[in-house]
């Protein structure tokens, strides 16, 4: 080590690494597939003329910054925060990665944009609950449910999602939260046929939990595997399987309670 002095290039390279890791971890936790993270991050690095090596896993991201001769300068690892799906962030980062090339952004500007994207507004809670309730009715209609069934699945999905949100807030394990949600939703929807308001085919009962299906991990699992990120794909697939298993457990508990 030649003293504590750091050259301007070194400082900038550190800042670049910070920007890359921040972008990557944000994308990964927002639910982007691994190929997208890699492409976006490489695009940003290329725009600034840096060469990098990347290793992306579900829980952490590892980055090696290279110098002009292609030898590594330093390697950093950053933990990926809890995965909370947020497509607005993905969309914003994708847009940013294009315009920063076009408009020659500085690193500072990227930092500010990332901070902004991190705190983007979500849909108001009641809106999400209502729309998910309607989605539950939609699933029920697709499975040939009657109008009573539609009403019951609406209420069931609405309350089910509410329970899930509250359990996550109360720091329950994600799979336990899914179990609670599936249990409460199917308990409410199952009441339709239990009270004799619906035919015995249990459409409401089954479709009320479909709002919990792990669509993003499932589809990302396949796109990751086909992209060559097999490890991440398998991890995501397994997560999707565990979530489905929790849903099944919740619905079976209800079936046991109601003696379906």
């Amino acid at each position: 080590m030649d003293g504590l002095r750091t050259s301007p290039e070194e400082v900038e390279r550190k800042e670049m690494a910070d920007v890359i890791l921040k972008t990557g971890t944000l994308l990964m936790s927002a639910g982007a597939n691994t190929g997208r993270v890699r492409t976006t991050v490489s695009r940003i690095a290329e725009a600034f003329g840096y060469s990098i090596h990347l290793q992306i896993s579900q829980r952490a991201m590892m980055l090696t910054m290279l110098d002009e001769n292609g030898s590594s300068v330093f390697t950093v690892v950053r933990v990926i925060p809890h995965h909370i799906i947020n497509f607005r962030t993905i969309s914003g980062i994708s847009k940013m990665s294009w315009s920063l090339v076009e408009e020659q952004w500085t690193l500072h500007e990227i930092h500010e944009e990332l901070d902004r994207l991190e705190q983007l507004a979500r849909f108001p809670r009641w809106q999400v609950l209502t729309m998910v309730g309607l989605a539950g009715s939609g699933f029920c209609f697709l499975a040939d449910g009657s109008h009573t069934d539609l009403a019951f699945t609406f209420v069931a999905s609405f309350i089910g999602l509410f329970v899930r949100q509250e359990s996550i807030k109360a720091h329950f394990n994600p799979y336990v939260s899914v179990f609670f949600a599936a249990l409460s939703a199917s308990l409410i929807a199952g009441a339709a046929s239990k009270l004799g308001l619906s035919d015995s085919q249990n459409h409401a009962f089954v479709t009320s939990v479909l709002f919990l299906i792990p669509g993003v991990p499932l589809i990302n699992a396949f796109s990751d595997i086909m992209d060559g990120n097999v490890q991440n794909g398998i991890t995501r697939g397994f997560v999707a399987f565990l979530i489905s298993f929790s849903i099944a457990l919740g619905i079976l508990t209800t079936a046991l309670i109601y003696q379906f």
């Binding site: 997208r36 890699r38 497509f87 309607l134 939609g138 499975a143 939990v209 589809i219 079936a255």
Partner: protein
Amino acid sequence: MDWIFLNKVWILTILYKSIWGGIAAIGFAALFNVPARSLFHIFLFGGIGVLLKFLLLHFGANIALASLIGAIAIGFLSIPAAHHKHTPPLIFYIPAVIPMIPGIFAYRMILGLIALTGNVKSPTYNTVLLETINYGLKVLFILISLSVGVVIPMLLLRKESVKDIKVPFVKKPRIS
């Protein structure tokens, strides 16, 4: 135009189903917090996917094939939409494809699996076994069809779609 076709009940049912399919897609879009400007397209694509699936089912197609074609259609539609709305295509295709996930089959498969843990000598055991395998394979193949179908257009058009974006950005050989 043959609007007379609308008198047929099955067409109306399929149309209603596709509208509800679109609504289901919107629900997931809200859950995933998509940009508000993409909501209408997601509704449309979710509806189109369900419409195609049920049309094909009506004409006797296999359910996995019907889902695959619906998913491929959604995948193709999301590419122009992505350019138009300036968002990556996955924001359209993931919520839009979810209404086609076979929840009822999955439930019956799990019920079957539980029943299979019972007495082997019971008279219905063989029937339950066959039904469970049938539902399980249906679920498996539909899920694969949906997840792969939605990516197929991206795999086929990947290079073109990057070029289509109007950014003066010369692609260099990729690092890493």
